[in-house]
Amino acid sequence: MTIGRDDVLRVAELAELDVPARDVDGLVAQIGRIVDYVAQLNDVPASETAEPFQAGPDEVRLREDTPGSVPLAHGIERFAPEFRDGLFLVPRLGAMEGE
C-alpha cells in the first residue's frame, strides 16, 4: 500500500473535508486501492522531458479590455447563505486569522 492513514488525514485537511472517525479506515482502504491502481503509470516509459498534453487550442484567446460582464439574472441574496448590507458573512477565521 502506497498510502496510509496519515496521508489521508493530511490530504483531508488540505481539502478542508471533515472525515468522520468511523469512515477513516474505509477511506484509507479505498484511496489506497485507487492510488495503487494508478501507480501503474510508473511502468510507462515516458521521457522526463515529454511535453504535457494540451487540450483545446494551442494558445489562449484574449478578450479586449472593454467593460461588459455576464449580468446576474437575480440578486446575490437569492443564493448566498448569509448576506447583509451587500456583504457575504462567515464566522471569524479562528486559526486562519491574521491576513
Partner: protein, 466 residues
Amino acid sequence: MTAGTDTAALAGRLRAADERGLNATLSWSEGTLEAEAARIDALRASGAALPLDGMPVALKDNIVTTDAPTTCASRILEGYRSPYDATVVTRLRDAGALIAAKANLDEFAMGSSTEHSAFGRVQHPTHPDRVPGGSSGGSAALVAAGVVPAALGSETGGSVRQPASFCGIVGVKPTYGRVSRYGLVAFGSSLDCVSVFGRTVEDAARVLSVIAAPDPLDATTVEAPPLAPEPVPGTLSGLRIGLPAEYFPADLDAGVKAGVDQAAAALRALGAELVPVSLPHTAFAVPTYYVLAPAEAASNLARYDGVRYGVRRVGPAGNLPALYRATRGEGFGPEVRRRILVGTYVLSAGYYDAYYQKAQQVRNLIAADFTRAFAPGGVDLLLTPTTPSPAFRAGEKTDDPVAMYLADIFVCAVSLAGLPAMSIPAGLSEGLPVGAQLIAPAFGEARMLAVAGAVEAALGPAREVR
C-alpha cells in the same frame, strides 16, 4: 401545431416516467414547460429561423439554468438557482428548443452508473434492476424511455457514450473545444465536453450542430468551421475504418462482440475497408484518467465552501475552518469525497511529479496513438465496442471503485485525446442494448455522424445479436 399543444403530452410523459420510478428527472414543472412553449411561440412569431423548432430537450443537471435549480445531484448545491444560463442553453433556446427537464446524474458527474446521486439512483429504462450507465444516466434514460427525443449530457471520461450504449440510444461527444463549457459545472476542465443524446443519429446531429460554436466566454473553445449535418451517404467506398486490437480483448462480452461485428459487417457491405490497427497505450487510459480528472476536480470543487452559495453547515468549533469542513464533509457524497482526496493527494508536495506530471506525459502518448492511426495513409475512423459489457446490475460495482472505473475502459482514451466519438445502438445481448463506438480525428464530427447514419439505416431497429 404550436408548442403549446406539445406541452401537455410532454408533461404526461415526464410524469409517467417519474411515477414508474425511473428517477431520471431532478426538476421540471408544467409552469416551466408552458413558459418555454410561450417563448417559442414568440420566436416563431418573430420569424426567426428555428432549427430545433419546438423540440423538447432535457438537460443534465450540471448545466446551469436561471429558471430551474441546478444541483449537480449534490446536497451541497441543493436549492441552488444559477443567476445565469449556460451558453449551450442560450443556443438551444435561440434555436427554438423547449427545455423540458433537468436530469439526474452521478453527483458532479462522478460515476459510471448514476448510482452516486444524492437524490437516488436512476433505473435502466427497460431493466429496472440495472443501471442506465453514467454519469449522464438521467438524460440517457429520458431519451431511451421516449420522454424526449434528445438530451444534453456531459462527458469527462465517457459519461454520454457509455450510458448511450447501456440504454440503446445514440450518444455523441464532440471534439474538445467544439462546444462551450461556459455554464457546464466543471469536473475535469481539460476533459469536460457538453455532449448529446438522441433517439436517432439525425436528432443528435441537429442538436449538436446548434450548440457547436466558439464562445467568447470560454477560452478553450476553438474557431472551427460550423458543424453542418451531412446527408447519409449511399456508399462508403474508399472509407478506411480501423479496428484497434486493444479494444477487442479475449474476455470481451460475447454479445458486445457480436454487436460490433454486426456494425462492422454493415460498414463493409456499404463499401468501407476494415483495417486492423493498434493503439498501444490504451491500457493506461483509465489510470491516467483517474489521476488527471480527480486532480482537476479537487481544484474545481474547492469553490463549494459554503461561503457564497449552496448549503452551509458549521461544525461545533463555530469558526471558519469548522464551516469549511462541515459544509464540504457533509455536502459531498462518498464518491466525490474519494475523488477530491485522490486529486488533492496527486497534486500535493512530493507527489506531483510521480502522479500528475507523469499522467500528463502518458496522456500525450495516448493522444499520439490516435494521431498515428489517423495520419495520412492511415484510417478515417475507428470502430470499437463502447463498453466491455452491457448494463450491469445496480449495486454490482459500488463497493469497488476501481471495478466501476473499468466500465469506462473503451471510452476514456478518447476523452484524454480530446477527440470526437459516438456510440450507436448495435443490437441486443440477452435483451440488453449493445453500443458500437465510432471515433474520428479532431473536428471530424460531420463525417463521423454521416457514417453513423449509414450504419443506423443498415442495422434497422435493435434486435438480439449472437
